[in-house]
Symmetry: C3
């Protein structure tokens, strides 16, 4: 595409632009760019990378010293209020994730008691049991299995090998990545004289709209009630969400995070990679928990780290002290 | 169902009951109950929740002050020796996990050299290779793959997308949740001058009766011999059991636990979430290891926590000291 | 097989042998061996196990005291430069991992625009989208899904339920275990006033030759560029490799390791189980990181452990100090 057309597509994100135009065939990292690609830099620390780039065009923060470099190099450039967001939308101009055409493959098995929206795409090996409702433009990749009573909202994509257990509710415009298992039994057993007796897990899982679930993550159904994931929340790969958790809107659960049962996570919270949360704990809205932490008690909004969990600045000091102790 | 019929079904678990009867249509948490549902409370700390419940009926511990509240509210009530167990059995009155009807789907691929029990249920997309034996009432959900030489005992359910590698032995009445991979190669390589040479993993995995394996968990085969999971042991989601582990009877391995190779876990042990065990370590029967611990050496029965691993009371003191150190 | 034939097959690994010959029907651990099996011991600490073994034959390090025991017991024996490697190659004499015969199952769905090598094996439930290239002797087990633009090299085996997202490149002689998901979207989102906007993940994943990926592991595609795994690197189960990571040659990533985005791992590095690496960190070639560590900053070659990460000897001292602190 023409750089000038890209500027138009980015709309209000653009602050200023240079006078050059050029043809672009892709987006790339600043250090890996080719003469037909566009890249971006976030701030002054990428100055050297900018000076050495092979890119044809760059998206910059609105800083004169970076603009001057781009001008000197004869690059196409624009400055943006949020260069990272502008770059995200630029990538979208060049890349379309794979999505099979609408239609139902003859190797799919669909119960007659299924409600199908318009333009759904159902791939080979998909099995849909009774009393399932798929919204318009739902896309099911190969070998997705849908147990009875499931509903999937408009425009949602479910990648290969996902299982949705009975009564799972998926909102609109969600993406469920390959191998995620949603609605399997929560881990509930009662100790008896002869061993562990199963607590039947009769509840269900509900995902809001615009939720993304990473590859091979698991979200369990509870004994009673619902495990719920709020609007716009994003879950990375290999994350475990236990039975009866309530995750708010617009949260991030990063890779390998594990939530035991009955955890509450408030809106706009971020749990970084490998963090664990003990059962029944409540995390206030707006909390940010550093990677590999353990949340064993309720926490207020703030930045937290470690095990024992402390405010992040304290954790940094503690880590420094432990390093000294290790050397002494 | 009638509350009076429920009382009968619970049998010896019931100590006392009120005189009310009512119709029940489901089970719910005490705070989420509706006027047609039954709930339970475990002890005095749920007193306020009991006072405010909308439930029609409640299962209580045998405590007069809780009974008095239930009576004052005009609820149906019973007291039970183990309210949680009584509630588990109550849920089972209202809920049946999905299970396809017996029969073999035409989209399944079954080697002629397969021994099938009575009333097996084999879903679309299942593939069974040669020399496999399925007991009576085995249920295989869609896209289960069974490599040669596998045996599955009576009444076992294998959920969608599970793979059982060659020679895996599954006992009776087991439940394998979606995406679990059983019998993949243990992680064994020998360093050579040119890189890592594979140690062939010629052993197999054996699960006892009444074992449950969570979604997307993995249990590896060893180089030689067997990786075994004892009777009644329950494994949560995303758990890794390495090659050659010997897990005893009635153990619990909670979410994201990871066992390296050759680990021994004695009967009735509990490893809480995200705990790791180093290769070759032996954990005595009856051990309880707190979440996010690391077991790097053999341990005796007891409660353990942390990394370095110490007795749980010591870990609590250490955590308090580290918190003070972080603040100072 | 005859022990004497085994000796021939092991070639230069053999240093010395006894004069006995015998028939062997399998390989086993020294403590579990039967009178028709061969076993091995690594060193003097297995002396008692050797004295009590039921094995017919043993592979030994070249130590006179162990040879003397084997002679006294009347065992067949050989000494090897690397007993573990000799045992690996011995197992390979008795065990062949399951591999379906070449051919394309009628329950597979293959786009006409697919390039197939000779002697490929494609199982039931496999789906291959357009523009895919499979090398000679590629083996795809049931329910493997291959998105468009994927290439798979000669002799690679892909186990059941694996998904290869679009444009993934797999080298020659790789093994991808069941449930691994390769090329799913990296976890990239940009915060906006209304929530998290997706950074499209337009890059791809590339695996070198002789790579092994464990069951249910995940390797993500990046926003731009490539996530690459070097020649001969072995990845265990439930490992997360984030978007844009560059893993060198001959590395080991053990079970449940998690790498955030943009991590670099140099050749011949070993990350033990459950270790995490923060985004953008660079790990020098030849690094060994102990289990359950967190690498939050670039590290030089060496042995590392803990969180905060310190040299392994320091970590051992620190752990001892913390244990004392816990007791005091």
């Amino acid at each position: 595409m023409k750089f000038s057309d890209l500027i138009v597509s980015l709309g209000e994100l653009v602050i200023r632009t240079g006078s050059q135009d050029c043809d672009l065939h892709g987006a790339a990292a600043i250090t890996a760019a080719t003469p037909s690609s566009i890249s971006f830099v976030m701030g002054a620390k990428y100055r050297t990378a900018l000076e050495q780039t092979n890119a044809a065009a760059v998206i910059l923060p609105d800083r004169p010293e970076l603009v001057a470099i781009a001008e000197a190099l004869g690059l196409c450039w624009l400055t943006a209020t949020n260069p990272r967001l502008a770059f995200a939308r630029t990538i979208a101009q060049f890349y379309t994730p794979f999505r099979p055409a609408p239609g139902i493959d003859r190797h799919a098995t669909i119960d007659p008691d299924t409600t199908l929206g318009d333009h759904v795409s159902i791939a080979p090996g998909v099995t849909i049991y009774h009393n399932v409702t798929l919204g318009d433009r739902v896309c099911l990749l190969p070998n997705v299995t849908i147990y009875p009573g499931v509903t999937i909202g408009t425009g949602t994509t479910v990648h290969a090998g996902v299982t949705l257990y009975q009564d799972t509710q998926i909102g609109d415009y969600c993406t469920i990545h390959a191998g995620a298992q949603i609605g399997a039994d929560g881990f509930g057993f009662v100790q008896t004289a002869t061993g562990w007796e199963k607590m039947p897990q009769s509840g269900y899982v509900k995902l809001g709209d615009f939720v993304e679930v990473g590859a091979n993550s698991t979200i369990d159904r509870p004994a009673v009630g619902v495990t719920s994931i709020g609007l716009g929340t994003k879950i990375d790969n290999l994350v475990q969400v236990g039975h009866g958790c309530t995750i708010g809107d617009h949260c991030l659960l990063c890779g390998q995070v594990g939530l035991a049962g009955g955890v509450t996570v408030g809106d706009f919270s971020v749990l970084a990679g490998q963090t664990g949360v003990v059962d029944g704990v409540s995390i206030a809205a707006g909390s940010i928990v550093a990677g590999r932490s353990v949340v064993r008690q309720d926490i207020k909004a703030g930045q937290w780290a470690g095990d024992p969990l402390v405010p992040l600045p304290q954790w940094l000091k503690l880590a420094a002290k432990l390093k000294r102790l290790a050397r002494s």
